[in-house]
């Protein structure tokens, strides 16, 4: 049996305090989404006369650490003024719980962010929230540069893996590892200049390798995992037999323009529309795609923006292929061209 039976962590996980919707809340802070694997919604009732948090409740989707951290933060901020609550850090939550697993530190950071968001919400008096505070560095988990920077600063982080454990940045496709390193080095340098960090502790990019042998397609390497087979074609669409294999593995090349079979203008227009319909999804992640041409059942697309370096490009491509096949109701092959 795990040893959490009697400690604060186990208690706040198994019997969390202040769970549920707070109907009279005048401040709400949300962090995370279901797709990212964790989501916290913090609801506060703040007395406008005293600026004190009279009541706090939460709803959380996530692991034991996320639930325990949420319970802890409600206990820590109840009775505090908003200024005092803003000063409570993720480390205070961890201390309150008697520790969190190293790779779950982001759970305490989420609750810190939820308090910041809730009080910002309260102070806006119902005005809409401003746009995201800075560029997104980790699109897997929606981590912005500013969020990573303040987490590094507040929690004195000096190692990129610690940043991943505190923010999840770099814990998905590993594609943003370099950006994490850059932000870490910049903030550490600022901390040194401010006298808050010994120079020898500051992080130098490249000094710690990424944790995983990621599926990163490189330069002229063979097609990435998943792109070779006809991945993700919906099963109700019949797949015609592939022509007999020729000698060497053929690299996809765009045939000469005059030899391409674009089908009827209506068919071509349909493909164009289907590709257009997909673009907002890619743009949301900072990527994009563009229809280059069509040759029979082969659709040539150009990926740009974040899609180019994304380690999940093969997944994106097979997803695009599946969605196009679904929309067009026939088997198509999506081939990236640069």
């Amino acid at each position: 049996m795990p040893t959490m039976q009697h400690d604060a962590f186990g208690e706040h996980f198994a019997n969390p305090r202040n769970v549920g919707v707070l109907a009279q809340a005048n401040a709400v802070g949300s962090v995370g989404t279901m797709g990212w694997g964790d989501a916290v919604k913090l609801m506060l009732q703040i007395d406008p006369a005293t600026d004190r948090i009279e009541q706090a409740r939460f709803q959380t989707f996530g692991c034991s650490s996320a639930i325990a951290s949420s319970s802890a933060i409600t206990e820590l901020i109840t009775g505090k003024t908003t200024d005092e609550a803003l000063e409570i850090t993720a480390a205070d939550v961890v201390d309150f719980l008697g520790g969190l697993p190293a790779e779950r530190m982001y759970c305490s950071v989420m609750t810190y962010e939820a308090v910041q968001n809730a009080i910002a919400d309260y102070r806006r008096h119902g005005a809409p929230a401003p746009a995201a505070d800075s560029a997104t560095i980790c699109k897997c988990f929606g981590v912005t540069e500013a969020m990573a920077a303040r987490t590094i600063r507040i929690n004195h982080l000096t190692d990129p893996h610690q940043v991943t454990f505190h923010t999840k940045a770099g814990g998905g496709c590993f594609g943003c590892y370099k950006q994490v390193e850059t932000v870490l080095a910049r903030v550490n340098a600022e901390m040194v200049a401010e006298g808050n960090l010994a120079p020898r502790q500051a992080y130098r990019p490249g000094s710690v390798p990424p944790s995983s042998e990621a599926l990163k397609p490189r330069g002229d390497a063979p097609p990435p995992l998943g792109s070779g087979a006809r991945a993700n074609i919906p099963s109700h669409i019949a797949i015609p037999p592939r022509p007999a294999p020729t000698s060497a593995a053929p690299r996809p090349v765009l045939p000469p323009s005059e030899n391409r079979d674009r089908g009827t203008p209506e068919q071509f227009e349909l493909i164009k529309q289907a590709v257009e319909a997909l673009r907002p999804h890619l743009q949301r992640d900072g990527g994009d795609c563009e229809l280059v041409d069509v040759d029979g059942n082969t659709i040539y697309l150009r990926l740009s923006g974040n899609c180019v370096d994304c380690q999940l490009a093969s997944v994106t491509l097979s997803g695009v292929q599946a969605q196009l096949a679904e929309k067009l109701q026939r088997v198509v092959r999506v081939v990236p061209v640069s």
Binding site: F13, V19, Q59, E213, L215, A221
Partner: protein, 397 residues
């Protein structure tokens, strides 16, 4: 405690322990030695090899190579196949392979320029056979497709896949770690060239397993050393482990009917009991052919680790869909490949039974799960417990 995590590992059968103990202090000789101690160990080694041969239905005992388990077997099989046919630079795997195969193939792709075909599965977990056929060619060195999936128990038609691979001269390896001991296997009636198994999944100790190598297969050992296992796996044999593996193999064959009748009935009762009591959950892969002992249920709007820890406190040991490995926060690749709905993909829990599982265990599990799911759903901001279902596509809750 109720132990429903047999796909992670099983208890060593006490009869297996009895057979192993003398190897530590009495017949502790090295099978390579020429004296009486060595001969006794050699006889034990031969007996164990024959026991494993019988469980697998292999033609010859010499086709069994003892090793440390599934990861070693899969690595040895795939690396050997590439070395044995250097002109073939492609591998076919499924999207739901164990990390022992997936991570190796990712490494081979990145560092050795090997092309990897990843065959998708559908929502029930069935392999896309058309995609498999399309990927086969004379360029494929080896196909490595698991016999049964560790997370869902879904069974692939491995004998049929092996026959198709043979038409192109590709070697066929199967990770049968979850299948051996649970499914009847008769290798001599198939075209399977290599098979990996791990003892601790069927009541043998951890750290011992075997690689089946058809006698016609050219094998290139990755470990260089002595003549043990005919040079195919050098290093002094793990004699207590090997003897335990042999004894467990014999017991597994004897329990095969129990596994397929009694355990299957228990599994079905558990699954139906939970599905009947808990709404908004789905048995993953239940529409496909599955191992008789495995049930993975994905609960919407809650997260698997919380369920597993609360069940643990209630005295029930289960696993989550192998998510949140250190350094990654992505959900299980198996459930993702099966397109499990996104509100449920992080709420998957695997119940896996063994011959040690009792009726009372299942009763306790059926009683424990619904209140825990209800409790976590009351904490979750998602789902419909507060009235109308909330939109799940929003960026924020």
């Amino acid at each position: 405690m109720v132990y429903l995590d047999a796909n992670a590992t099983t208890a060593v059968d006490p009869r297996v322990v009895d057979k192993m103990l003398p190897l530590f202090t009495e017949t502790y000789g090295n099978p390579s030695s020429k004296h009486g101690f060595g001969e006794a160990a050699g006889a034990a080694l031969r007996r164990a090899r024959e026991q494993v041969r019988a469980l697998l239905g292999a033609e010859q005992a010499a086709e069994i190579v003892f090793n440390s388990g599934g990861t070693e077997g899969a690595n040895a099989a795939i690396m050997s196949a590439l070395e044995a046919s250097p002109r073939r630079r492609e591998i076919i795997i499924s999207a739901v392979e164990h990390p022992a195969v997936l991570a190796l193939c990712a490494w081979l792709e990145k560092n050795k320029g090997i092309r990897i075909h990843v065959i998708p599965v559908d929502r029930e977990g069935w392999l896309d056979l058309a995609a498999y056929k399309a990927a086969l060619s004379e360029r494929v060195a080896v196909v490595s497709i698991m016999w049964a999936n560790n997370e869902t128990g879904v069974i692939f038609p491995v004998p049929e896949l092996a026959e198709q691979a043979k038409e192109f001269g590709a070697l066929f390896h199967t990770d049968a770690v979850q299948a051996v001991g649970k499914l009847p296997i008769d290798l001599k009636a198939t075209e399977i060239d290599m098979l990996s198994l791990s003892g601790h999944k069927f009541h043998a100790p951890k750290g011992v397993g075997a690689l089946y190598l058809r006698s016609s297969v050219r094998f290139k050992p990755q470990l260089k050393g002595g003549h043990q296992e005919r040079g195919r796996r050098p290093g002094t044999e793990n004699m207590p482990g090997i003897v335990g593996l042999g004894a467990a193999a014999e017991l597994a064959a004897a329990h095969m009917d129990d596994e397929n009748v009694r355990v299957r009935a228990l599994r079905d009762r558990l699954e139906q009991g939970i599905l009947a009591e808990v709404g908004q959950c789905v048995a993953v892969g239940a529409g496909a052919e599955r191992l008789p002992n495995t049930s993975t249920i994905a609960f919407s709007f809650i997260e698997g680790e919380s369920i597993v820890l609360l069940l643990d406190r209630a005295g029930i040991a289960v696993s989550m869909g192998s998510a949140c490995s250190v350094g990654s926060f992505e959900p299980s690749h198996v459930l993702t490949a099966m397109h499990v709905a996104k509100e449920a993909v992080r709420g998957a829990v695997r119940f896996s039974l063994s011959r040690d599982t009792t009726e009372a265990d299942i009763d306790r599990a059926i009683a424990a799960v619904p209140p825990i799911v209800a409790k976590l759903r009351a904490i979750s901001p998602f789902g419909s417990q507060e009235g109308a279902p909330q939109a799940l596509d929003q960026a924020h809750v």
